[in-house]
């Protein structure tokens, strides 16, 4: 039983979700290979080799892997697949893009957003926006799993260095190409792994008011998130959306400001350790999941909170 984990990276740095995925892999078995596919990404492979639990790094470099296009990456992983009992990738937008393609090429089903490993063939995953948890057993010869990063602690770096083996890239017809890419740059912590997250909703009324959240976030070293309504209204960019169909977060502290608490939003944050809700409507459903609720006008409370910190 050998497990293949697909590393996520931007050719320079390893994405932290890979570390959480490695912890999930360690709960399944101990022979773990990690594929680093990219362009000029030896540095990433060298870093991966030092993560504890990794027994082998597979490095495959090609310009066609520079931007994680699903068509290229999936055919490489599918070529390697038959040597493995399990294939794991983080349930990030990158993993969600190529992993089902891998599963279909291997003619096996995939389990998405696994949050608990019960046995090498039995897993728990949320369904219906997290309103239910399904325990699923699979007898697939290759078990393809996307791992919800927030459900597993990050694997640590050790003092060993696993061997790095070079792999020839897979020649795949170029069916698609990247035309443009925009990365929203921010000095704030990453939403997916921040210890504190402050999210704003429609209650903020405009993008200027998000400044109040940013100021507070800077004071707390927090990441900023948003509800879909805030994103739809154009207050912030879409990659800040927390929820069933946005990012899943589970920080130590989640502060929801001017967010009503729709099922779809709660699905993305209800595993946070401590939840604070600030809302002027005392009946707002967000208070049902909040550890501490503060009823009142956010435009008065936020400046006050900033001063109090």
């Amino acid at each position: 039983m050998t497990i293949l984990v697909i590393a996520e990276h931007n050719n320079r740095e390893l994405a932290s979700a890979t570390l959480n995925t490695l912890t999930a892999a360690q709960k399944i078995g101990s022979d773990i290979h990690v594929l680093v596919a990219g362009h000029e990404c030896q540095g990433v492979a060298a870093a991966v080799a030092k993560i504890s639990g990794v027994s082998q790094v597979l490095l495959s470099e090609s310009p066609s892997y520079a931007q994680t296009l699903a068509e290229h990456l999936a055919s490489l992983v599918a070529r390697l697949g038959p040597d493995y009992s399990h294939i794991l990738a983080p349930a990030t937008t990158t993993g969600k893009n190529y992993l089902p393609r891998v599963a279909a090429l291997l003619d096996v089903e995939q389990l998405s957003e696994v949050v608990e490993i019960l046995a090498a063939d039995t897993f728990k995953r949320p369904i219906y926006a997290g309103n239910a948890l399904a325990t699923v057993q699979t007898c697939a010869p290759i078990k393809v799993l996307s791992i919800r990063p927030t459900a597993f602690a990050p694997a640590a770096y050790g003092d060993h260095s696993a061997p790095i083996q070079n792999l020839a890239p897979e020649a795949t017809p170029a069916l698609s190409r990247v035309v443009a890419e925009t990365q929203s740059s921010s000095d704030r912590p990453d939403l997916g792994s921040a210890r504190i997250v402050i999210s704003g909703g429609r209650g903020l009324q405009n993008s200027d008011s998000f400044q109040l959240l940013y100021q507070l976030a800077d004071k707390l070293g927090a990441a900023v998130g948003a509800s879909r309504a805030a994103v739809d209204a154009g207050y912030v960019s879409n990659d800040l959306q927390v929820g069933q169909t946005g990012k899943i977060v589970a920080p130590d502290l989640y502060i929801a400001v001017g967010i009503s608490g729709a099922i779809q939003h709660v699905a993305g944050m209800k595993d946070s350790k401590i939840i604070v809700a600030i809302n002027k409507d005392e009946e707002a459903p967000i208070f049902q999941v909040a550890d501490y609720g503060l009823v009142g006008d956010l435009f008065e409370l936020l400046p006050e909170l900033e001063r109090a910190l």
Binding site: N97, P100, R101, Y128, T135, L175, V178, S184, R228, L309
Partner: protein, 249 residues
């Protein structure tokens, strides 16, 4: 150019589902059912392309029980030209659905296939990508905009940390994200007209696809409830709690 849109019948998104006491599944008896929101968006996009004169026909297809005809009628009322139901009572995996859709793609030869990014019941987020693999087509997932340009379709994708624009060679598969468009409501005259539009019902067996599954759901349980919280009456009280009780700041 033909566009095929895959639409799924799911529980209405406003409903908070409950788990059955015997933990066999969620309880959907008498629950309001609807078109999966992402499928509505996929369909809307196809209809707009037809209205712009860029598509000749929009076909809505669904895999599901006989009652999924209701959702297909809604699709027809929104503006699809015809509909196909692959009728089955079985709860199929995304791979099985993708295989059935692939058989229809072979038969209909659409140039563009649009699916939702995710069905809000299983939350799988798999079918479009799997269909792309089986058909050997390019894929543009989590689309927030889509534009046909010659032999390609330009897709803006919503990704972690920003967005990515890809150009896909046609035929291609696109999966719709929430911001692709705002779906229309079907008007009463269009609902009446939809009753006369063709809706073909096929048995999956007729497509020669073997529907086996490696998955077995052992149990479905409710998530652990969070313990009830408290109300604080001032910012000072909140900060005190966060510092001294929760110890998170």
């Amino acid at each position: 150019m033909k566009i095929m849109v895959a639409v799924k019948r799911v529980v209405d998104y406003n409903i908070k589902v409950r788990v059955r006491a015997d933990q066999s599944d969620v309880d959907l008896s008498n629950a309001k059912m609807a078109l999966n929101p992402f499928c509505e968006i996929a369909l809307e996009e196809a209809i707009r392309l037809k209205e712009k004169g860029q598509a000749s026909e929009v076909i809505a297809v669904s895999v599901g029980p006989s009652q999924a005809q209701e959702q297909l009628r809604t699709a027809l009322a929104m503006g699809a030209d015809r509909a196909i139901l692959l009728e089955t009572e079985a709860a199929l995996s995304s791979l099985n659905v993708a295989k059935l859709l692939k058989a229809l793609v072979d038969r209909e030869q659409p140039q563009l296939i649009i699916t939702g990014k995710q069905a809000i019941d299983t939350d799988n987020n798999q079918t479009g990508q799997m269909l792309a693999a089986l058909a050997g087509y390019a894929q543009g997932t989590f689309a927030s905009s889509l534009e046909l340009q010659g032999e390609e379709v330009l897709v803006m994708r919503e990704v972690d940390g920003g967005s990515q624009q890809v150009a896909l060679q046609l035929p291609a598969i696109v999966t719709a994200d929430l911001r692709l468009n705002e779906p229309r409501y079907a008007s009463l005259p269009n609902i009446m007209k939809a009753k006369k539009k063709p809706l073909e019902v096929l048995q999956p067996e007729a497509l020669g696809v073997a529907l086996t599954s490696n998955l077995r759901v052992l149990r479905v349980e409710a998530p652990t409830e969070r313990p009830p919280g408290i109300r604080v009456d001032s910012v000072a009280a909140l900060v005190d709690k966060l510092k001294h009780e929760a110890r998170v700041i």
